[in-house]
């Protein structure tokens, strides 16, 4: 949990807690100190006022110039109505001259250095004179000091308690993280399906655990797909290799005439082509994972594109007695890579031809949605695809096994490639099918924000077009 660059969670929480405690204590200390000081000064003023009242009562019995005793720590002097000294405590005169006293309407004053609290108060009744009092604060200091020590001790205790309590809280709340770390460390590629039990964690961590579980589920799916892909690929490679082997063995074991020899070698080449095509397609699919790679977008007229493909498959369709038609108005256009879309459409039409019985019909159509998306559709009146197969069909090496499907040299990657191509274009492939009445494969293109597709298409694809083994 400790790292060199980032402080540990425990230290962070504890630090915050202690910092908070220090700030709070300091504020509390200041407030208490201020309150205490106010209370103290009010109490002192009260004492002086009481002393003044008490002294007022002595007034009639005092002869001028009397020396009176001090009142505890308070020294005092009584003045007559005209300011003459009536009485004073011992040594008062030498320390405090007659002048320089606060006025009667602001009677209290503390000297610089806080040695004395002086008061100048009227007698009772006021016209009989006034009284000057001095309290020796130095003598009282120990009271305040003792209190300050106590207060400091309390603050320190609070801090210590906050630290202890904080440590306890942090330990308690961090403990599930430790458990989670152990659980996470146990994750292995082989048991990604094992879930970390959410309910054993506090709710805040539960969210994290749930997210981890979802992430692991996705990983597991991807892992599974990859594993299946590897196995499938190996199986798919096996059959052309087997055919090659048998053919070559046959050549060695059984003598053949020139024609037979040529046929056998041709068949070997076909199998090699199948292998080569599979490699090309796998590489192509890998490149499709990365959108933006290798797209040569241009505005293409949908009807043009569809007619080109229909043209190509016309005789194939005729030879299996399937009608092939195009339904597209000339003003629909898409932003797309011509060669790639031709490849996608060709795959779809090949599939449709394979699964449409004689007398059926295949329609190539361009349609728009209300949102302005352009779709290219290949509709057939074939056997249809079972609903449970549709989801799986875009994956690699998935084929619909039909009793009627003609044998073919396909690699099982056709639809995956269509999907990959649409992925590159930011669109997707949608399959709709009803058993017995046909299938619609729909290439969905996102609406073109630039509006450039309204123009007519131009330009062939000079580089991305060569070669099919």
């Amino acid at each position: 949990m400790t790292g060199l660059s980032t402080p540990s969670l425990r230290r962070k929480i504890l630090g915050t807690l202690l910092g908070g405690a220090v700030v709070l204590s300091a504020v509390a200390f200041c407030i208490i100190e201020l309150g205490f000081r106010i209370a103290l000064s009010q109490a002192r003023q009260g004492i002086l006022q009481t002393a003044a009242r008490d002294a007022s009562r002595l007034r009639p019995s005092l002869a001028p110039g009397t020396i009176v005793p001090t009142l505890g720590e308070i020294q005092w002097r009584m003045l007559g109505p005209s300011g003459e000294t009536l009485a004073q405590s011992e040594g008062f005169r030498s320390k405090f001259p007659l002048t320089g006293w606060p006025a009667l309407d602001a009677p209290f004053e503390v000297d610089e250095g806080a040695h004395w609290l002086r008061a100048h108060l009227p007698l009772d009744p006021p016209e009989t004179g006034s009284i000057q009092l001095v309290m020796d604060l130095q003598a009282q200091r120990f009271v305040a000091t003792r209190n300050t020590g106590l207060r400091l001790f309390m603050v320190a205790f609070t801090l210590l308690a906050a630290y202890g309590l904080g440590e306890l809280i942090v330990r308690q709340s961090i403990r599930p993280l430790g458990r989670l770390a152990i659980q996470a460390a146990l994750i292995r590629p082989k048991d990604l399906g094992r879930k970390i039990p959410v309910e054993t964690f506090p709710r805040e961590l539960g969210d994290l655990v749930a997210s981890m579980n979802i992430g692991m589920e996705r990983l597991q799916e991807a892992f599974q797909r990859l594993e299946n892909l590897g196995t499938d690929l190996a199986h798919e490679l096996r059959s052309p290799i087997q055919n090659l082997r048998s053919e070559l063995e046959g050549l060695l074991l059984r003598p053949k005439d020139a024609r037979g020899l040529q046929d056998a070698l041709g068949s070997c080449l076909e199998e090699l082509d199948r292998l080569g095509m599979m490699i090309e397609q796998m590489l192509f699919l890998a490149r499709c994972e990365e959108p933006s790679s290798e797209l040569r977008l241009g505005p293409l007229q949908a009807s043009d594109l569809l007619r080109g493909i229909a043209d190509y498959f016309e005789v194939s369709a005729e030879s299996v007695q399937v009608e092939l038609g195009v339904e597209a108005s000339d003003d629909l256009a898409i932003m797309a890579d011509r060669a790639l879309i031709q490849r996608a459409l060709s795959n779809l039409v090949s599939n449709a031809l394979r699964h449409t019985p004689a007398g059926g019909r295949i329609t190539l159509a361009a349609t728009t949605t209300s949102k302005g998306e352009v779709n290219l559709e290949v509709r057939d009146t074939g056997e249809g695809i079972p609903a449970e197969m549709i989801q799986a069909l875009g994956s690699r090496f998935t084929r619909v096994e039909h009793s009627r499907s003609r044998s073919h040299g396909g690699t099982g990657l056709g639809l995956a490639i269509v999907k990959g191509i649409m992925h590159l274009h930011g669109g997707d492939l949608e399959l709709e099918s009803r058993m017995g009445s046909g299938t619609t494969a729909r290439l969905r293109f996102p609406p073109d924000p630039t509006g450039r597709t309204r123009r007519r298409s131009s330009g062939a694809h000079p580089i991305l077009s060569p070669k099919e083994p």
């Binding site: 040529q262 046929d263 070698l265 041709g266 068949s267 070997c268 080449l269 076909e270 090699l272 082509d273 080569g276 090309e280 590489l283 490149r287 790679s293 290798e294 080109g308 493909i309 043209d311 190509y312 498959f313 005789v315 194939s316 030879s319 011509r338 060669a339 790639l340 031709q342 490849r343 060709s346 795959n347 039409v349 090949s350 073919h408 062939a460 694809h461 580089i463 991305l464 077009s465 060569p466 070669k467 099919e468 083994p469």
Partner: protein, 226 residues
């Protein structure tokens, strides 16, 4: 015509040499970029067939160097690397075309001839091509057998013309797809076979001598086989 094949893999080089010689080219071999460059800088060849990955000087570097020396012999690149980027690199370095391995030899031949035609446009189609009892007059878009006109649909005619332009040479199906329909070579080539069957039904079936032949796994050829 003299062709220099620069390919470090001995087996592939031998096959290319044999195939090209069969098509009446004079062929010389070089096994690495440095030797290839030495030979090619003489400018004595009509075309170069260059593997991109070569020991010593790579194919791309070699061609760049040649172009810098003003040797503009046309170059056909062969490479196992087939992404668009690789192709573009090849063409940018001064190559004229680019074929990805594994290739079909007839395709190499077809592309090589296309390059040579591009460089020497002075070889127009002859006014008349004759193969056994078949006569093709390109100007009149007319094909006759035993003096009798063969009626073809436009696509069938394009296919026949492509085969006749390359009499005796195997035309790969991908070339047919590109030339006759103008589509990418990645479309399902099975439709080509159907078209070939159609053509054969009109061009060959009524006559005793068969001229259009399908070579399994290689392509289509029109020739007089005795």
């Amino acid at each position: 015509m003299r062709i220099l094949v620069i390919e470090d893999e001995a087996k592939a080089a031998k096959q290319l040499k044999a195939g090209l010689e069969l098509a009446h080219f004079q062929v010389e071999l070089a096994a690495d970029g440095t030797a290839g460059h030495r030979l090619a800088s003489s400018g004595a060849y009509d075309a170069l067939v260059v593997d991109v990955m070569l020991p010593g000087l790579s194919g791309l570097q070699m061609v760049e160097k040649l172009r810098a020396e003003d040797i503009d012999t046309p170059v056909l690149f062969l490479s196992a690397k087939g992404t668009l980027e690789d192709r573009l690199k090849g063409l940018k370095s001064g190559g004229d075309d680019y074929i990805v391995k594994p290739y079909a030899f007839p395709e190499v031949l077809a592309r090589l001839q296309a390059i040579l035609r591009r460089v020497r446009p002075g070889s127009p189609l002859p006014p008349k091509v004759e193969v056994a009892d078949l006569t093709w007059e390109p100007d009149k878009r007319r094909i006759t057998r035993l003096g009798k006109r063969v009626d073809l649909t436009p696509k069938e005619y394009l296919l026949a013309a492509l085969l006749l332009e390359n009499v005796g040479q195997v035309v790969p199906r991908s070339t047919v797809v590109e030339t006759v329909w103008g589509l990418t070579a990645h479309v399902d080539p099975n439709a080509v076979d159907v078209q070939v069957r159609r053509l054969r039904a009109k061009l060959d079936d009524p006559y005793e001598k068969k001229l259009v032949h399908t070579l399994r796994g290689v392509g289509i050829v029109l020739e007089d086989r005795d």
